[in-house]
Every structure is written in structure tokens, then in C-alpha cells.
């Protein structure tokens, strides 16, 4: 399992202008990677708003065009299904992070174009938001990837790498520059897709690094070193869902890893969670922690990357796990309590795999086995 690749950076004025013209202008990389751009991580407002490319609620429609049908097969159902998967991403409280609604005649026009085979699609968000896909392909997975990719551009997402944090070499939606044959064969959001939509559109302060951090989609994307971990569908901190975990010792932890491609950005990060003891008969101590591994890109390719990012496809990691931020353990009672570290600025790197860990143990007041801890809204976030 390897980390994911996303790039989030502050847009320069020059870059904003370019994005305003087109969200995705392929530059013709020679070696197989796509390029990136992005997104401020420093301000509470989204800097891509002026380009109208950071929408969390999008109404869309199909262009009327006979090109949707080729060899007797209508491609629109594939495109529609891909767009609808974006509704699956959930915020900390279980509400959808984004909304996509098909309409008969208004909204983003989804077009099909007859293009040479190396041109997959493009999104436009200035003079009438629209995107197109190349209608010369016959595989459903081509349309799943390209349609979701272009729609995510309109939601503010930029290009990432080809390795998904959860699914290894199954590339996330914002991968680019790779041949379509590498696209995933399933029409679902990858972990990185969900994490990216959280980064862009979560209702919590700062930029959220991780997916399903509100535990509203069960225990998806989370791992544990030991102990029983289960999903509770009601009684969460800010939304209904949360995790109940019986850690055998205080050395055990829950974890989730994502990767961010920061280029020459210089952000600060912290670890944060909500926790409570599920019984007054236990003394429960919790501490979140955020660790990093430095990502090294191969030498830059001829795809265009902003902010000093090299080649986020096929990156390498040669560092150990380094602690970024961690508060002291906090004893929590039976009510939800926020536990968080201070923000910390790690040594610069081309990017990081960011692993959030939740340490905790519920020690019985009168002997016996350890008890359950309630865990919710667990993540790393960035300034």
C-alpha cells in the first residue's frame, strides 16, 4: 500500500490566469505523468472561487450530440454514473461534501468531442462551465475516470499522482498523464478522491488531510495495530457516526495515511480528534499524532507542474516516519472532548505521506480488561 498524491498550493496570479482559461491544458509529457495545479491551503476562503472552479454544488446537463452513441452504445450512462459517485463523499457529520444534480437544460454542459486518441477531456469554468470527454473510446472505465476527473476539476481539484493511499496502484481520479488502460476498473471513489474532496469542501476549519475522518462511512480507510474496532451509527461528536475501539494497551493506535504533494509550499499541520470514554468505569487517555514520510519525486517530466512539483507519478519514499505534531495524552470523560496538537511546520519536501494516529487506552478503575473509547473527527489538518 502506498501513499496518494495530491498537490495543493496557493495559486499565483499567473497560474490563476491560466486556470481561468482552462483547468486542464495538457502539455504533452514525455515520460508518463500528468501535471498539477491547485488550491490554497492557507486561507479559510477558497482562492479558486474567482475562477468559478471550486463549486461544491453543481447542476449539469448532457450536450445534445449524436456522438454520445458509438457502435450502438450510448456512453451517457457511464458518464452519469461516474458523476454520481461524487455524491458518495461524506463530510465529518455525514452530509455530502458535494452535490451533483443532472438537469435537462441548465448547468454545466457535459460534451462529447471527436478528438485524436491521446486527448481524453478538458474542463472549462470561465465562459460557461463545461467539460468534454473524447467519444472515440469504447470502454466504460475510460468514461468513469475522465468524467469524474473533469467534474472534480470544476469542484476545485487539481491533478495528483497515480498511486492511491488505500488501493496502491489503482490510480485515483485526479491522476493524469497515464494511459487510460491504467484507470481503475470500478466506478467508485478512491480514498484519495474522498480525502481530496474533504480538503476542498469540508465544513471544518482548516484543510482536512484524511478521508472518512468523521467515521460516517464505517471504518473505511482506517487501520489499527490491535484491538476491537467497530462503527457506531449514532451518538457521534458532531455527526451520528463514530468509532468504538478497545485498545489493548496505550501503545496501540488507529491510523490512516494519505500523501500530499506540496512542492515548494511551506505549510503547518497538526493532529486532532474527538474522544470520550464509553463508560465511567474506566480512566481513558487519548492522544492523536501526525507523522510524515518525505516524498521524493523523480526528476521532473515535461508535464506542467506548478510550485516546484516534479513528477508525482511513481514517487519514492526513502525516509522514516517522523513525528510532526503530537499533544500530551489527555484524560477524557464520558462526554466528547477535543484533543489536538499545536500546528507544526515540518522540514520542506516535495511532499509527504501523512499518517494520522490515534493512541488511546481505557484502563478499568477496578481491574480487568481495557474498555472502549469513542473516537470521532480524527484527522490531520493543515493551515
Amino acid at each position: 500500500m502506498a501513499g496518494i498524491l495530491r498537490t495543493r498550493r496557493r495559486l499565483s496570479a499567473r497560474r490563476r490566469a491560466r486556470v481561468a482559461l482552462s483547468l486542464a491544458v495538457m502539455t504533452g509529457a514525455a515520460d508518463g505523468s500528468l501535471y498539477t495545479s491547485t488550491e490554497s491551503s492557507a486561507a479559510p476562503a477558497y482562492p479558486q472561487d474567482p475562477n468559478n472552479c471550486n463549486d461544491s454544488s453543481i447542476m449539469w446537463r448532457f450536450e445534445t450530440n449524436s456522438g454520445w452513441t458509438k457502435n450502438g452504445v450510448d456512453r451517457r450512462p457511464w458518464v452519469r454514473a461516474a458523476i454520481n459517485t461524487l455524491d458518495d463523499a461524506r463530510d465529518y457529520n455525514g452530509s455530502p461534501l458535494v452535490s451533483v444534480t443532472e438537469h435537462a437544460s441548465i448547468g454545466v454542459e457535459v460534451q462529447v468531442k471527436d478528438k485524436p486518441m491521446n486527448q481524453y477531456g478538458s474542463a472549462e469554468c470561465v465562459s460557461g462551465a463545461s467539460f468534454w470527454v473524447n467519444g472515440n473510446y469504447t470502454s466504460s472505465k475510460f468514461y468513469w475516470h475522465v468524467a469524474r476527473h473533469e467534474m472534480m476539476h470544476l469542484m476545485g481539484a487539481e491533478h495528483g499522482g497515480n498511486i492511491d493511499s488505500k488501493n496502491g496502484d489503482n490510480p485515483p481520479t485526479m491522476m493524469t498523464c497515464k494511459d487510460w488502460s491504467t484507470f481503475r476498473s470500478v466506478n467508485t471513489l478512491a480514498q484519495d478522491d474522498a480525502a481530496y474532496l474533504n480538503w476542498l469542501h469540508s465544513g471544518r476549519d482548516y484543510r482536512q488531510l484524511h478521508a472518512n475522518y468523521g467515521w460516517e462511512q464505517g471504518t473505511s480507510y482506517w487501520g489499527k495495530t490491535a484491538g476491537a474496532l467497530s462503527y457506531k451509527s449514532s451518538g457521534g461528536s458532531l455527526g451520528p457516526g463514530y468509532a468504538a475501539w478497545q485498545a489493548p494497551t496505550g501503545n496501540d493506535y488507529l491510523y490512516q495515511t494519505v500523501a500530499v504533494h506540496t512542492g515548494d509550499d511551506n505549510e503547518s499541520y497538526r493532529a486532532i480528534t474527538a474522544a470520550k470514554s464509553l463508560s465511567p468505569d474506566y480512566k481513558t487517555a487519548v492522544r492523536p499524532a501526525l507523522y510524515r514520510r518525505n516524498i521524493a519525486h523523480q526528476s521532473s517530466n515535461s508535464c506542467e507542474y506548478a510550485d516546484g512539483v516534479g513528477n508525482p507519478n511513481d514517487y519514492s519514499v526513502t525516509s522514516g516516519w517522523v513525528l510532526v505534531a503530537q499533544p500530551s495524552s489527555t484524560v477524557v470523560g464520558t462526554g466528547w472532548t477535543g484533543v489536538q496538537s499545536a500546528f507544526s511546520n515540518p522540514a520542506n519536501a516535495m511532499g509527504y505521506e501523512m499518517q494520522v494516529r490515534i493512541y488511546g487506552v481505557a484502563v478499568p478503575n477496578s481491574g480487568g480488561a481495557t474498555g472502549y473509547i469513542g473516537i470521532d473527527n480524527s484527522r490531520g489538518d493543515g493551515t
Partner: protein, 346 residues
């Protein structure tokens, strides 16, 4: 038979090139080569690969993997191609055309000429005229995709006798010709050396072949280590207390024989003491190392010392370690390092 033999034979077979249709008034081959020597791109590269005005935006696959996805090469019979396209073609759409030529496989004799129905974007077909204009010895080859794209034409590349090449079609100068020129120059290759190659052979030529990840130092982490790697190990906490004046662009890591554990930065970004995790072998030793700011495991700086781990280690154990010595301001070494530790139970 070498590829060059195949290519030369193929070139010989189409050595007589007429000048049909529009564009006969273009620059001669000699003029073009003169231009090329002056450091400018040959004229035909831009002519056949420009973007339609106002329609330049597209993203997709990079040049090398796209070219590498070719399943079959088909060399156009330029002498007879004009008849196939006599009815004209729509430069903005894909259609099926009956194109004369022959399949070309590296290391094999050219197949017999025949007319083949090929589904191709019309803008690529402009390359046929360009090949004619490029003078004697010029060639036009179509790269065909496999069954997963219904054998559609992926690209059409034009080459003149001196090996200069251009990919024809909308925006292909930017998307294919330019990056392939750069790539081939960096590899010391010419386009002609790729003709007829497919699959792993072509990927290797383009530098796309994966030799497999070079295994780096083992890192012990529940998400990235296999169960086998962690078997028999006990996860403990290590509370580390370096001297207060240890502030340098460096990191402090622990390791056991099986791999590296967590690290903590010494750059002042966090306060001491801090607790990190470590996998240990009961009865084994836990080493403390100084690494650079990135915790680059390929180049550990200095082993600071080690402690022996109790044989009867309990899973709830913490190792409380204190370190002494003088850390160089640049993080390059610790003078007279000492590591002491005791066990505690949470």
C-alpha cells in the same frame, strides 16, 4: 534482420514519391533540412500538428506511454494513398478510410501491400500530404491501437529521409512531436528506431520499462509492513528525552535488526520529551540513530547507542530513554553520545 534493415527496405519500397494534391508548392526537402540545421523546426512539423484555433485545451496521456501503447504499425503507401482519399476527409472527425500500405514489424520483412480499413481521426490524415511534401524517402506511418480501442489509429507520424519527424493531427506538435523530440534526444535515439516496435520492447526504448522498485531499508509500520515482517515483534512506546540544546536539522530514530522505527525531529518544531512508537524483539536490542532532517534511511548519519530490551517485555511497556552528548549545530554528528533507558508500564 536488424530493424535498420527493415526500415531501409521499407524506405526503398516507397522511394518514388509523387507530389499530389495541395501543398506541392511547399518547401523542398533540401530547404527544410537547411532550416533544421539552423536550429529551427522543419516546416512540416508545425503544419501538420497545430491546434485548431480556439480549441487548444485537452488533457490526456503523456507522449511516451501513448506511443508505447501502439499495437501495430502500418506504413502508408504514399504513391497510392491519394486515390483512397480522393473523396476528401473531414479533419475534425473520426471515420473509417481504406488506406493502402503494409504492416511493419521490427525484425520481420514487410508484409505485402494491401488496402486496409482504418478508423482514424481526419486531422491525422494531413500527415499524408506532409510526407509527400517532405521529399523523396519520406514516410508516413500509422500507429494502431489494440482491440480495446477497436484497432483505431492512435497516431500518424511523418518522417523525412534524414530522420526528422512530426506527428500529424490536431495539437500533436505540442502533445507528441515536441515531447518525443525531447525524450528521444535525451535517450540518444531517433524516431526511426522505434518504428515496428511494440509492447515491452518499445517501452524499454522509451524508458518506460519498470525494473521493479529498488528495495530500500525496511521500515516497520502497521500500514506498510507485512504481517510476516512484524511477526514476533512487540509494539512499545519510546519516550525520548534529548538534551534541551539538541536543536539542528536532524532527526532521531530507533531501529532494530529487522527495520527502522519512528523518528522525531530535532529541528525545534516539537518540544521534548516526546513519545514515538517502536517495534522491538523481547530480549533484543533497540538502537538509537542520528539521521538527517528528512530522516533519509539510505544515509543514516550516526549510531548513538543501544539498549537491551527485557526478555519478559509486556505489551504495555514504555521505554523511557534519555540521551546525552553534544549535537553539532549542523546536525552532522553527536559528540560522545550516551543512551540510557529504563522500562515503564502504562
Amino acid at each position: 534482420m536488424s530493424l535498420s534493415h527493415v526500415v531501409l527496405r521499407a524506405v526503398g519500397a516507397i522511394a518514388v514519391v509523387g507530389c499530389l494534391g495541395a501543398g506541392c508548392g511547399g518547401p523542398s526537402s533540401d530547404e527544410m533540412l537547411t532550416t533544421e540545421r539552423a536550429g529551427e523546426r522543419a516546416d512540416f512539423t508545425a503544419e501538420v500538428g497545430a491546434c485548431p484555433e480556439g480549441d487548444e485545451s485537452a488533457e490526456g496521456v503523456a507522449a511516451a506511454p501513448f506511443v508505447a501503447s501502439v499495437a501495430e504499425w502500418f506504413e502508408i503507401d504514399l504513391d497510392n494513398a491519394s486515390e483512397s482519399l480522393a473523396g476528401g476527409f473531414d479533419r475534425s472527425s473520426t471515420a473509417t478510410y481504406r488506406i493502402p500500405g503494409s504492416e511493419l514489424v521490427a525484425g520481420q520483412d514487410s508484409a505485402a501491400r494491401h488496402a486496409r480499413e482504418i478508423q482514424i481521426h481526419g486531422s491525422l490524415l494531413e500527415g499524408i500530404d506532409a510526407a509527400r511534401q517532405a521529399g523523396p524517402g519520406s514516410r508516413a506511418l500509422i500507429g494502431l491501437g489494440g482491440p480495446d480501442v477497436d484497432g483505431q489509429a492512435l497516431f500518424l507520424v511523418v518522417m523525412n529521409k534524414s530522420g526528422e519527424f512530426a506527428f500529424a493531427g490536431h495539437c500533436q506538435e505540442r502533445l507528441l512531436t515536441d515531447p518525443m523530440t525531447t525524450l528521444l534526444a535525451s535517450q540518444g535515439l531517433s524516431m526511426i528506431e522505434l518504428v515496428g516496435l511494440t509492447g515491452s520492447e518499445l517501452e524499454a526504448q522509451l524508458g518506460l520499462a519498470t525494473s521493479g522498485d529498488t528495495p530500500g531499508p525496511a521500515v516497520l509500520n502497521p500500514e506498510f509492513s507485512s504481517l510476516q515482517e512484524l511477526e514476533g515483534l512487540t509494539l512499545v512506546s519510546v519516550v525520548i528525552s534529548p538534551p534541551d540544546d539538541w536543536r539542528a536539522p536532524a532527526t532521531l530514530c530507533t531501529r532494530i535488526e529487522r527495520g527502522w522505527n519512528d523518528c522525531m525531529p530535532l529541528d525545534g518544531s516539537i518540544e521534548f520529551p516526546q513519545t514515538v512508537s517502536a517495534y522491538v524483539v523481547p530480549g533484543g536490542s533497540l538502537e538509537f540513530w542520528l539521521l538527517d532532517e528528512a530522516a533519509n534511511l539510505m544515509r543514516p548519519i550516526q549510531r548513538l547507542g543501544s539498549i537491551e530490551v527485557a526478555q519478559d517485555l509486556q505489551p504495555s511497556t514504555s521505554v523511557v530513554a534519555s540521551l546525552r552528548g553534544r549535537l553539532a549545530p549542523d546536525g552532522g554528528a553527536v559528540e560522545a553520545p550516551v543512551v540510557q533507558a529504563e522500562l515503564a508500564t502504562l
